[in-house]
Symmetry: C2
Subunit: 539 residues, 2 copies
Amino acid sequence: MMNVPLTVGSLLERAEKFFPKKMVVSRTLSGVHRFTYKEIGERTRRLASALEKLGVEQGDKVGTFAWNHHRHLEAYFAAPGMGAVLHTINIRLSPEHISYIINNAEDKVLFIDEDLLPLVERVNEKFKSVKAYIIMTDKDELPETTLSPVYSYEELVREGDPKFEFVKDIDENAPAGLCYTSATTGNPKGVVYSHRGIVLHCYAMGLADTTALSESDICMAVVPMFHVNAWGLPFAAAWFGSTQVLPGPQFTPKLLAELIDQEKVTLTAGVPTIWLGVLNELETGNYDTSSLRAVVCGGSAAPRGMIKTFETKYGIPFLHAYGMTETAPLVTVSRLKSYQENLDIEEKLDIRSKQGLLVPGLEMKIVSATGEVEWNGQDMGELLIRGPWIADEYYRDERTKDAFRDGWLYTGDVATVDEEGVIKLVDRTKDLIKSGGEWISSVDLENALMAHEAVFEASVISVPHPQWQERPLACVVLKAPYKDKVEKQEILDFIAPQFAKWWLPDDIIFMDEIPKTSVGKFLKRALRDQLKDHLVKNI
Amino acid sequence: MMNVPLTVGSLLERAEKFFPKKMVVSRTLSGVHRFTYKEIGERTRRLASALEKLGVEQGDKVGTFAWNHHRHLEAYFAAPGMGAVLHTINIRLSPEHISYIINNAEDKVLFIDEDLLPLVERVNEKFKSVKAYIIMTDKDELPETTLSPVYSYEELVREGDPKFEFVKDIDENAPAGLCYTSATTGNPKGVVYSHRGIVLHCYAMGLADTTALSESDICMAVVPMFHVNAWGLPFAAAWFGSTQVLPGPQFTPKLLAELIDQEKVTLTAGVPTIWLGVLNELETGNYDTSSLRAVVCGGSAAPRGMIKTFETKYGIPFLHAYGMTETAPLVTVSRLKSYQENLDIEEKLDIRSKQGLLVPGLEMKIVSATGEVEWNGQDMGELLIRGPWIADEYYRDERTKDAFRDGWLYTGDVATVDEEGVIKLVDRTKDLIKSGGEWISSVDLENALMAHEAVFEASVISVPHPQWQERPLACVVLKAPYKDKVEKQEILDFIAPQFAKWWLPDDIIFMDEIPKTSVGKFLKRALRDQLKDHLVKNI
């Protein structure tokens, strides 16, 4: 058949040709702006030509340091569209990690949001490869900055070539994107996305049995565009002609609820902590969320109680998914099979709060010390994944050999799989609690704790124990109205019926906030450091 | 990213692992049988191992001469699953064409349905490459036959290895399928389908904005499995875990209506003549068709009147699509864009009776003598298609150079495209009527004629004319109750308001049947030969 490569440029081209009137709604520092795909397409071509004029060549890395907005979307297509590699930088990384990844990637050009300039200015002296800084600002004048040389994004777009042709004869295995995932210890690890991988991932997102992204969707990626390509949504939404809503800088739960209401968002996506915040906001405000057909949630396991509240209290369909930076990210989506539709609501929630079924195109296995585990929903092992949108290395990183072995990605996630093929994450291999030779799932305990009406967030960690080796300890944040009004024992009693006695946390510590990683996941390593002597002292 | 090839074997493997309980409902000569995907998977592996034992090697062609049933489905996966190429043979071809394509393909093994044996027995002496005949029969004993050597399908399956591993390290561009398309003149032309092309086509079929094939579907491919892989449905339905209903040998409109009713079919697919027959049956019988969410129709343009009857009289959603053997076949699907949902019903029908929007992954242009036509819904030109599931040659055939040029497939279809990107087929280049230097679309006239309540089928052809070069002539089949009760002039008066006067057919000829090709399209060449002197005599 025809040897036509799958390319990122072709995704936007489809939006330009078939959905020129459809809209991108973009919130920036100066407010909400609206662009058609025709305009976005033309601006992207102009930008791509400007990159070429700045000396960016095929295979060069182009960094972005930005929120979710239309300019970031244009960079998403302009860089791979002219054969370069889009390197999205997590703005929440430490200064050391920022300079490390920019040097590791050898970024040639950096796009920076105006309000994020200070974060770059404090480290840019360490950058070894950056030849140009492009400031994304709504203003006519460039802001004062110590960076040099600096260019105005809008000026580059104005002077660019609106007829610039995206590369088409590129090897589909050529890199198109690059994103670093934070490691528990040491520097972040880079994951390269190929044109082929990104396009196949878009197909996977559009399937009726996954997220079913469609032209009729109004899609709001809350997950940052610096986090695994915002789960591929900006690419797929353009390809399918979906309206996109980009929530911009420093958004709050209130802003997200307002955007859902005003823009009639149909599908939105983000990590559980985002949705906990939005739920909180829905409980205080008065919003019309009836347009929503899917709240896609991944990044960490979504608590069963949260899913239930979204669906039963607000009638908002929830879609639990699983993936990681190394997997581009979609690996599983949790939907019922047709013959499960008759189960009662709690049984259905049990299934849907698991991570779900592998999406078409990937392979999986779950491996314990004794080989592949049985599909019985009980036996635990590490989840291994294989497929055309799964990374095969960390970029220029010796840790590649730890995670990528025998053609499989070792995810570091401990999981079970049941007779229906539904995957349930039990824990991260490093967060699993080994008590008296048995395993305790911190995730299961957290889910149970978060089902209590007073609990806002809960994180369960292992702490060293002289007799049992490790024991579980629960860190709990109470909802504001319940602060100082709930006893530990009440919460322990609440979860006790669900677990063997030796699973129950030895103590509960109430906190004002649980420390989180730069992408909103619980930072258990910090909790473990802080609390490593807690139980020993208290017993 | 990982270098994991897209393979046909992986499609069935997903059904085995994740949907082992889901069913394949198969009608054979002995009645309706039911198999789970677990059973189909094991039988397929046994069959694949049997092919290997028979001496079939990677790249060898394996022919099938069969109806739509579970054994044909198993062969669909067994041949590519062990690295061979599945060559589906159109059972309605002439004896000369059957021996030509079997020799052109160099089929090594032939699967044959018991009731189709006579069709092979009359030509098998001419076969040069066939080393084994496998008879698909429900009986314990093999039927009497002059073919040799013959094997029993079920015996091969019984003796095969249920643990046979499908090839995984194959080049995804390797051939997996082969299908011949009938040419207007000369021998049929072979089209090779690669593993990559078939898998990408499955993705295209599962998108929310195309046919949205899903696990929840009960999918009945009426389109023969010897016709462009039954439009890819057997592959995609297995991959997504859809239930499959295979209607078997010599089916009638009555049988199809019964299967829809009894099996609660949700999606079915076939050519317009099939649906005309089913409509006729629905008008006489009493069937529950409420399970249907989509009647997919392609192969020829679906008449607007038929779409309207399905939807307004029976509440059955109709999905007009377009493709050809060379395109695997899905090229366009006709769905409304979200902002067209507010149009009135007739405007919506106008859009949906066109061929629709290009599916994600393909490129198109429409070219006239003066270059690419404007997207104005008026300018006509030949439709050109490009993409990873489009053929790049006819197999061992000099006619390759006519259809495949400059990296594009020249479809031979004349089309317009409007501002929304919606393609409308005007005609086959060879069926377009050139009258007095202007073009008349036979398809538009046919649609108008078939909207008349008395008309069952209509085909408009060009006949030579001394003054105007060509003139349109309409061949019309009346519905049974209207036979001999309708005048030509009444029908001409009915369509007159829709066309310029010079577009109107010079005459209408009533027929009992319109000759059709082996896949159910009007055989206009035969009509033209038969009627080439008609007008000249009558004027």
